[in-house]
Amino acid sequence: MTEAVIRPGSTAHSHGASEIPLQTRSERLRSSNPADHVAIDGRDEQWRYLDAARLAGLDVNVLSDAAGDLAFTGPNEFSFELVDATDPLFGTAGLPEDLPSANGWSAAAKAAKVTLNGEASEAAILKVDGIKRDRAAHIIVTSKVHSRGTVVIDHTGDASLAEIVEIIVGDESELTVVSIQDWDSEAVHTSAQFARIGRNAKLKHIVISLGGKTVRVTPTAEFTAPGAEVELLGLYFADAGQHLEHRSYVDHAVANCKSRVTYKGALQGKGAHTVWVGDVLIRKAAEGTDTYELNRNLLLTDGARADSVPNLEIETGEIEGAGHASASGRFDDEQLFYLQARGINELDARRLVVRGFLNEIIQKIGIESIETRLNESIEHELTRSIN
């Protein structure tokens, strides 16, 4: 367990050696051309926890564009179209920082573009369902100035998919993007999600990873103008043999922005493996930054492994606050005993404890249909763990 809070005016030097990135995060290679990227190597920090063999060839295979197979539904405030690289937003939120993303990028000539034009009370849904193997998809989600709404990208069925999601949050808008990985058990998925956040804009980005053999989601948020806020939320539940990896990166490039990163996961079964790496970079110009990141993992059984690595890089002392907390713990049998001693059976007791643990995230989602679905999934996972 590590806890650290950097107070205004102090610098990051108090951090332990393991928390210092090998290179400054901003210097990592970015390119959409696969040839610019080196082959996946376990000695590279990015691939430290994930064996390339688990990627089912997403880094090297020839992939086919899945943009045409995505199904969009949404209220009138949204528009949906397939665009190509001539679209003015194409490639403006970020560029691939690893081989699978670059491979996906170069294979996806089209991008599925969702535009939020007004205030939508109902969420738009982009379904990525059963698109099968060796696919690539490029998705662009953007919110116009003063708009407000939610886009859900819902991944189900079987697939191997190298995905890029660009999120461009317009000035003064409030956008929620939810990425649900509820794949069948053999699916393999990499998803590089890049968000560019405009002036006084708010992004709530929610990653929910439940199903799939290998899932690697890398959300990046970059502030471009002051007064903006991002909240990166993540919830995952890994079973035996599953690898669920989340690497978030918040780039405080400008002054007076706020970020909160909160990822929580539960693990059970042999070989269940989760990884969370949370990079936050506070650049020299980013005075008045307020950031906090937290990751907690609950290990329900033996044989599961949770890696949790917060990285704070701070280039200016003039900040509001910067801190992180990270902890992974076993399921507490004393909690179970306490609840059972009040008549609650073991399954219900486990359910209460795990839900309680994940509640912090679930409560923040604020979308009822997703909360219901999550509760059902957690239920399902827990029933499995007891039997």
């Binding site: 609840l339 059972q340 209460l352």
Partner: protein
């Protein structure tokens, strides 16, 4: 009329040096309406007895039996024991992050009675019990025991006792850490629950103070994993005056 019988109970815990016997033949019978106080030095095994009755997995019964109205308690799971009417107010109540008191209480009540209580009367009942225990109604929205002070945790235990209405209440140092007012409030809670339900009480304590409020019918001196002496309320007075020296030396 219910009866809880503990016969020749031997209990061990696993330690790094192997199994260690803590209870060395405890005999005790409690009937509905009776209050039994257990007093004894630190480490003598009082909590072990309480936890073993409740079924904590850490303790292994190597010999003897526990019967509730003739039923073998040792064959029941922890939750079955609670549903059968055994209640343990713990010396160190556990924090459960993310689970609200109101959710917890309702889930427990539902489990014990086998059906969800009707919402309105239930909320009323919880409110009344909390007000009797001088607990702020805001506690229902807080997470179970999280950030509660020592005394608040104990009140919360007695709140559960009042709401869950067991046949036997085992109170493990419920009085420790309570200020004088809280001691009275909590004791009244126990007495109220006892009057309403007529349950039997096994009250573990280090102090005679609480016995002024909750009058014991029997006092048991617990030493080195056994009951060393039994008597009426006057025994507690003597222990207060003389301590445990004569039992420990003997």
């Amino acid at each position: 009329m219910a009866i809880l019988q503990i016969k020749n109970l031997h209990v061990s815990v696993d330690t790094e040096q192997g199994s260690k016997e803590i209870l060395k033949g405890v005999d005790l019978t409690i009937r509905s309406g009776e209050t039994h106080a257990i007093m004894g030095p630190n480490g003598s095994g009082k909590s072990t007895l309480a936890y073993t009755i409740a079924g904590h997995p850490k303790y292994t019964v190597t010999e003897g039996e526990i019967l509730l109205d003739g039923e073998n308690v040792l064959e029941m799971s922890v939750d079955e024991r609670a549903r059968a009417g055994l209640f343990l107010a713990m010396q160190y109540p556990v924090e459960i992050p993310g689970v609200s008191v109101s959710n917890f209480l309702r889930t427990a009540k539902t489990a014990i009675t086998g059906e969800a209580p009707a919402i309105r009367p239930w909320i009323g009942e919880v409110r009344e019990a909390m007000s009797n225990l001088k607990m702020d109604p805001g506690f229902t929205e807080r997470n179970v025991n999280e950030g509660f002070s020592g005394g608040e945790k104990k009140r919360h235990e007695i709140l559960q006792l009042e709401l869950l209405k067991p046949h036997f209440a085992i109170l493990d140092e419920t009085d420790s850490g309570l200020d004088v007012d809280a001691l009275r409030v909590v004791s009244e809670g126990v007495n109220r629950a006892k009057t309403a339900k007529g349950f039997g009480v096994l009250l573990i304590t280090h102090y005679t103070r609480i016995l002024n409020y909750i009058k014991p019918d029997f006092v048991h001196v617990f030493v080195a994993g056994k009951i060393a002496e039994e008597g009426g309320p006057e025994l507690a007075e003597r222990l207060e005056a003389e301590g445990y020296d004569r039992y420990v030396k003997a």
